[in-house]
């Protein structure tokens, strides 16, 4: 613990077990993006998974919507220190998508419209831990929040839940994505406060 700040008492007086260290709760839904918001129509949207051999499995929007859709009710945690509780999403589980993929690689890179990338280990996407989500709070996902579809990996800091996601590529080694190259942590566990590259 650092120095006490004279006269500072803070707002949160009781520890909230839902709140990872260093986070505060917001009812709002802040927007953080590196650039302009891409405008992707459902008709042009496509999602793909490319394995380490270069085999590509693609889904159009209509094909995607024909997959089993799950309701997800989860807390989310942004590296800029806000957390939002009980957010409600609909999307397709990555388990469903990976059921059709042959891979022995342990790492994925998520790719977004606009060129952004983020790296996530495959095991963090499977067993009910991640979705490609296209609805938030009963409405189609706003472009500002990553619509038409974003990755949803709620157990990691929210930058890992890549907005405007268009695909995953499989990799034998863990390579760094866009925000990770720009100073953020390679893995991003909110409960370990892995915000920046130097956090252990």
């Amino acid at each position: 613990m650092g120095i006490v700040t004279p006269g500072f008492f803070g707002k949160r007086r009781e520890a909230d077990p839902h709140l990872p260290p260093g986070q505060y709760e917001t009812k709002d839904f802040p927007v953080l993006s590196a650039g302009p918001t891409p405008n992707i129509h459902e008709g042009e949207w496509e999602f793909s998974i490319t394995n380490e051999s270069g085999d590509v499995k693609r889904w159009s929007w209509d094909e995607f919507m024909a997959l089993p859709i799950e309701n997800v009710d989860t807390d989310i945690h942004c590296v800029t220190r806000w957390s939002k509780f009980d957010t409600k999403w609909r999307g397709v589980s990555l388990d469903t998508l990976f059921a059709e993929i042959e891979t022995d690689a342990d790492f994925t890179m998520a790719h977004s419209y606009g060129g952004y990338t983020t790296n996530v280990p495959l095991e963090d996407l499977l067993e009910g831990k991640a979705w490609v989500a296209f609805e938030f709070d009963g409405e189609p996902l706003d472009p500002e929040h990553g619509g038409p579809a974003r990755l949803l990996v709620p157990h990691l800091y929210f930058w890992k839940s890549a907005k405007w996601v268009t695909g995953l590529t499989m990799h034998e080694t863990d390579e760094l994505g866009f925000w990770e190259v720009n100073g953020y942590h390679a893995y991003g566990d909110p409960w370990k406060e892995q915000r920046y590259y130097y956090d252990s």
Binding site: G2, G35, E144
Partner: protein
């Protein structure tokens, strides 16, 4: 990188609701223009709250400065804007962030669009531009409620002169007496005409940095892209909800 105990060596009221805090940070070796630091406060019972603030100081400045808007319902900004005095100590870590940055080695023209307190990292870029004697053409479009709410009011003109930058202020509610420009929200038409008037004659690449409230940034960025800017040349930093 570790949390450091910084000394507050200066405070300056920027507007009725904002102030600049200058910090002497042990081991500070400067930053890139546009980077931020995190400031952490600790209450007597050990409860901590930290927030990120963009640096407004030049990249090579000896003292780091942050320019903070008071968020009425905020937890950290009321303390920093109203409670801190010279001689106090604050915990800080940084500089942080590698994307929303401008380097003097970038030769292309520079466009800066700031809304309210979003001016802070853009002023860091202008200061850095001036100190590096960059020859990149620089333009700042600053949207602000009224003259009282202009950050860096006393130095914007001098800074613009030093950086050979052209500063355009868009007053959204009230303009100073004798103002001959328009007053009103920064809308798509105003962004478009400013972008056209600042476009390089050779049609070459421009780097754009936009910082402000979410709606403001969305509007400015969308407008630039709609009028032909390559999205990869437009870097944004948003605050607040949508």
């Amino acid at each position: 990188m570790k949390w450091a105990i910084a000394d507050v060596v200066g405070v300056r009221e920027e507007t009725p609701t904002a102030r600049t805090i200058m910090l002497r940070i042990p081991g500070w070796t400067g930053a890139l223009a546009g980077q931020h630091i995190d400031i952490r406060l600790t209450s007597p019972d050990g409860y901590q709250a930290a927030r990120s603030y963009s640096l407004s100081s030049a990249a090579g400045a000896e003292f780091a400065s942050v320019s903070i808007e008071l968020m009425p319902d905020g937890e950290v900004s009321p303390y920093l804007v109203r409670g801190v005095s010279v001689g106090d100590q604050l915990e800080v870590i940084g500089p942080l962030g590698g994307w929303f940055v401008w380097k003097p080695t970038q030769p292309e023209p520079l466009r800066l669009i700031g809304g309210g307190s979003g001016i802070a990292p853009l002023v860091s870029m202008l200061r850095t531009h001036a100190e590096a004697k960059s020859t990149a053409p620089a333009h700042l479009l600053y949207s602000v409620r009224s003259p009282d709410y202009v950050y860096f009011r006393d130095e914007l003109d001098a800074l613009a002169a030093a950086a050979d930058a052209e500063v355009t202020i868009q007053y959204t509610r009230h303009a100073p007496q004798g103002w001959t420009g328009t007053v009103g929200r920064l809308d798509g038409a105003r962004v478009t005409s400013w972008a056209a008037s600042t476009a390089p004659a050779d049609g070459g690449t421009v780097s754009t940095y936009i910082c402000g409230p979410t709606r403001f940034v969305e509007l400015a960025a969308d407008t630039l892209v709609a009028t032909g800017a390559d999205p990869l040349t437009v870097r944004t930093e948003r605050f607040g909800g949508a």
